[in-house]
């Protein structure tokens, strides 16, 4: 009788434990992250203009590229502009005028760890003839295929400069892998989050 009781309790306990075991992944959105980094000591006070291309550039390992959806490019660019305008910045044509901040938008076509190469070449020819360099910030993450990347290059003072600094980077990890795995609302939600967690961009507080 007592043995049966103990056995019954053990079974009930084991079943209860399995039933209560937490689900680590509840939806695909659980994989989404928005990461921002900024160059130390750089103030955004005084920034008034920006330039931005009207496309999302692909970059990554040329020998191992995945297919990336561009179904939401226009919506993404429009949303980025909306966030930049909300900072009080004004968009200008970077081909004819020099903006304070040049905004680059790209998507990864392969999985990378650490900083991503490949942007440099494109932007070097696209605008200005300068190289650029990343801020010296430790970023302990890997970018999955389909990660949306937004970078701000500080072009306020380019006198005698050969490499212009990247002063802000935002990464939405893996959100653009396929057009069916996500939607514009999710992507732009992460873009909005990236700006929301960077309150120093409007120049009112120090980074």
């Amino acid at each position: 009788m007592r043995t049966s009781l103990i056995r019954a309790l053990a079974v009930i306990g084991a079943v209860s434990a399995l039933g209560c075991y937490p689900s680590r992944i509840e939806s695909i959105e659980d994989f989404d992250t928005a990461t921002t980094i900024h160059a130390p000591g750089v103030s955004f006070a005084g920034v008034g203009t920006y330039g931005i291309p009207d496309s999302v550039r692909e970059f990554g390992d040329l020998e191992d590229q995945d297919e990336i959806s561009h179904a939401y490019d226009a919506a993404i660019i429009a949303n980025i502009k909306a966030n930049l305008n909300a900072l009080g910045w004004t968009e200008i044509n970077e081909d004819s005028l020099q903006p304070d901040i040049l905004v680059a938008v790209g998507v990864t076509t392969s999985t990378n760890t650490g900083w991503i190469s490949g942007w440099w070449d494109w932007y070097y020819w696209w605008w200005g003839g300068w190289g650029w360099y990343y801020p010296p910030v430790y970023y302990p993450y890997s970018y999955q295929t389909g990660s949306l990347m937004i970078a701000m290059l500080d072009t306020r003072d380019t006198t005698g400069v050969t490499n212009i600094p990247v002063v802000w980077v935002a990464a939405a990890n893996g959100v653009l892998r396929t057009s069916t795995s996500t939607n514009a609302t999710v992507i732009n939600g992460l873009v909005d989050q990236a700006f929301a967690q960077s309150p120093y961009l409007d120049g009112s507080v120090a980074p």
Binding site: L9, A10, D30, T33, T35, N173, Q197, S198
Partner: protein
């Protein structure tokens, strides 16, 4: 998977006293289910009460009012949050899943009030021994984990209700406290601290 294997191993080890029963005395062997409230550093990482708590326990009576025993437990604490994480030079936002699986392995000493066959007996117990903790942290597609061993103590107060032929029901409150360790993912010294309220069923082994 490690957690379940350890729980199985704990159950097997806690059952060993039944083999020793023939050597004298009649040990109480049983299982306790517990609800736990994290405190201190445990609460800072997993700010959720836990409904996942089990312990296998054996007690040998040294006298009518004293016993010593073995306590092998498992408590899991987890917490999902979308708090942002600030680091030097940046911020990360995403769904975080934080998890502690804590396995106390204690030697216990227990003092009882009243007669051995009294219907109800209050008792106070103190346990000491090793705590093994498996820590997990998920953020986006990344998962990191750590395994930590610590020394800890665990006082307990409870009410033992004798039912029939040596079987008992125990209602108890147990506090767990470990020494600090900097082996956790936080890299700052961390101590496991939590309060468990348990309901246990024990049977005398003849």
């Amino acid at each position: 998977m490690n957690a379940r294997r350890l729980a199985l191993a704990a159950a097997l080890v806690a059952g060993l006293p039944t083999l020793a029963a023939a050597q004298g005395g009649h040990p109480l062997v049983g299982m306790t289910y517990s609800w736990s409230l994290p405190m201190g550093d445990t609460k800072a990482f997993t700010d959720n009460d836990s409904w996942i708590g089990f312990a296998f326990e054996s007690k040998w009576y040294a006298s009518d009012n004293a016993a010593w025993g073995i306590y092998l437990g498992w408590n899991e604490f987890y917490h999902r949050t979308e708090e942002t994480i600030d680091f030097k030079g940046g911020t990360i936002f995403g769904t975080q899943y934080r998890d502690y699986n804590v396995f106390p392995m204690l030697l216990t000493g227990t003092l009882y009030t009243g007669e051995l066959d009294a219907p109800k007996r209050l008792y106070f117990s103190l346990g000491a021994g090793a705590y093994y903790t498996h820590q997990t942290f998920d953020l986006g597609l990344s998962t990191v984990s750590e395994n930590v061993w610590q020394f800890g103590v665990s006082p307990e107060i409870g009410l033992q209700m004798n039912t029939f032929r040596g079987s008992t029901v125990q209602l108890s409150a147990r506090y767990h406290y470990t020494t600090e360790s900097d082996a956790y993912l936080q890299k700052d010294p961390q101590s496991q601290q939590y309060l468990s309220v348990g309901l246990g069923f024990f049977s005398k082994v003849f």
